[in-house]
Structures are given as structure tokens and as C-alpha cells.
Amino acid sequence: MSQDVKELIINENHPLFDHTGMFYKEFPSDFRQIRYFTLLIVQKAPPEIKEINLLEQQISEIIKNAVKHGNQNNPEKKIRVWYSFSTAHAHLIVEDEGEGFQGIEEWNLFNRKRQEAFLAQDFENLGNFVSYRTLRSDEHDGGNAMFAAVEYWNDGVVFNSRRNSVAVGKTFPQRRLGLEIS
């Protein structure tokens, strides 16, 4: 297992912000339709990378963050989604019209402490870092979506400078077809 701590990055020149060749959709910030919007996007993905519904779940978290935390569920505000999939990769950019995720540095610090507790297998202490909360968090916020996101999206979770757009990417290992000759 890799010991390096994965982080949220801020870099709008990151290759994951290259929109070339990506599909595009935009949605109103309707909280009730988050899973439906997600399905509209994930239907473009080949079954090999869906891992049953793991890809769908990870995409729905990014969309939920944009709708709920970015646009505050304001249906007048749009989210814009760029996406591309192949059997080897998943790439998604989600932009909202909110004020941007100001807590990135704080989140990274929190996540670092969480990782330290995990590596020490100190589950008592880990209990203090299972849920990242802000003043705006409500009881429905698990406060854990991005912990999984930084692990799942192995090409990175990258924000633009305004922090209202997030680009994520994942490379999937390719199964080699063929015979092994001994």
C-alpha cells in the first residue's frame, strides 16, 4: 500500500482541466435529481470500468457537492459537466456557480490527520476524523465523500483557482488478453 497522503490540488493548468474531446451536459441544481443526472452521464461509460456501481457513486458525490455545497441547491444556478470514458479511463469536470470550496487547505490538513490515525491503526483517534464538517454541514452530509474521492480518482482531484470547478480522473488497469507460455 502506498504511504503517500493524497490531497486536493489547486491547479487550473492541470492536464485534467483539458476539455478536449469531452462530452458536455448542464443541469439545474435540483437536489432531487442528482442520481438521475449521474445516470445520464455514467451511461456513456463502458461496463468494464463501472465496477457495478462504484463509478456511478463516485460521480454522484462530485455532482452532489456542486449542486448542494457549490450552488446551495439553487435551481436557477447551473452545474456544467464535461466527461469522457473508455475501458482505460474515466475523466470528469464539474463546474458550479458558487463561491468555490474555500476549505481546501483545511480539508487537506484534516485528511492528513485522518491518514495518520489510519496508518497508526489508531481507530479511537480515527473516530475524530471520520467526518469533515463545516458550519454549513447539515445532518445529511456524511462529510466523507472526498476521502474516498482522493483514493478513487487516482489521476487526481484538482480544483481551479476560483475553486468552483473540480476535475477528476482515474486510470484503470488493463487486463491483458492472451496466453502465458511457460
Partner: protein, 113 residues
């Protein structure tokens, strides 16, 4: 998602059926809080029929788990599998949650002090 409760000796088993997502995970939380008010002390949450969980579902499990830990009561989560297991692994919570492979194993774990 629907929730069914059955009882084995003093242990209450909650069978969760369906998807634990941002629209319904609060229901499990509410149910457990009601059972705590009624002085239930031993819980098994059975995820055998759950094939989808998101951060709200994980959040509900964290909330339930930490509440029950603080009260020094007993909880085991059973039958974590498939993508539910993957999400919990990605969130690095496999060691945090008290888990068992099956309901029977969970009941046994609760019975042994």
C-alpha cells in the same frame, strides 16, 4: 430502501434492503435513535441486501456507530460486500466499523463479552 427489524434473544437485527443514498440514509439513523430511546442495547445492522451506498449512507453508519460506542452499547454491521465494501475501504473505515461476515457471526460476537 426499507428497514425491517427482527429479534434474536436480546439482539435486534435491522435488515436494510435497497440503496443507502443521499435521499434515504437518514431513515436508518432515525430508526436506531428511536430504538435507543426504547432502551435497545444490542444491534446488528445487516447490509446483505444493500448493493449501493454513498457518503450519506456511510455518514449514517458513522453517526450510528459513534453514538452506540459512546453509550457503551453493542453494534455489529454484517454482510458488507461488493461496491459497499469498496466504498468503505476507500474511506478507510473497515477497521473503524465493528463488522462480521454474517448475521449469525455478528450475534455470536455480541454474545461473547
Amino acid at each position: 430502501m426499507d428497514l425491517k427489524i427482527r429479534k434474536h434473544a436480546e439482539t435486534y437485527i435491522i435488515d436494510v434492503n435497497g440503496e443507502m443514498d443521499l435521499y434515504n440514509s437518514y431513515k436508518l439513523k432515525e430508526l436506531v435513535m428511536k430504538m435507543l430511546e426504547k432502551k435497545v442495547e444490542q444491534f446488528v445492522i445487516n447490509l446483505e441486501n444493500v448493493d449501493y451506498i454513498d457518503s450519506s449512507g456511510i455518514g449514517a453508519l458513522i453517526y450510528i456507530c459513534s453514538t452506540i460506542k459512546k453509550m457503551n452499547l453493542k453494534l455489529i454491521i454484517s454482510n458488507i460486500h461488493g461496491s459497499v465494501k469498496k466504498v468503505i475501504e476507500l474511506t478507510k473505515l473497515m477497521g473503524y466499523f465493528p463488522i462480521a461476515g454474517t448475521v449469525e457471526e455478528a450475534i455470536q460476537k455480541i454474545a461473547t463479552p
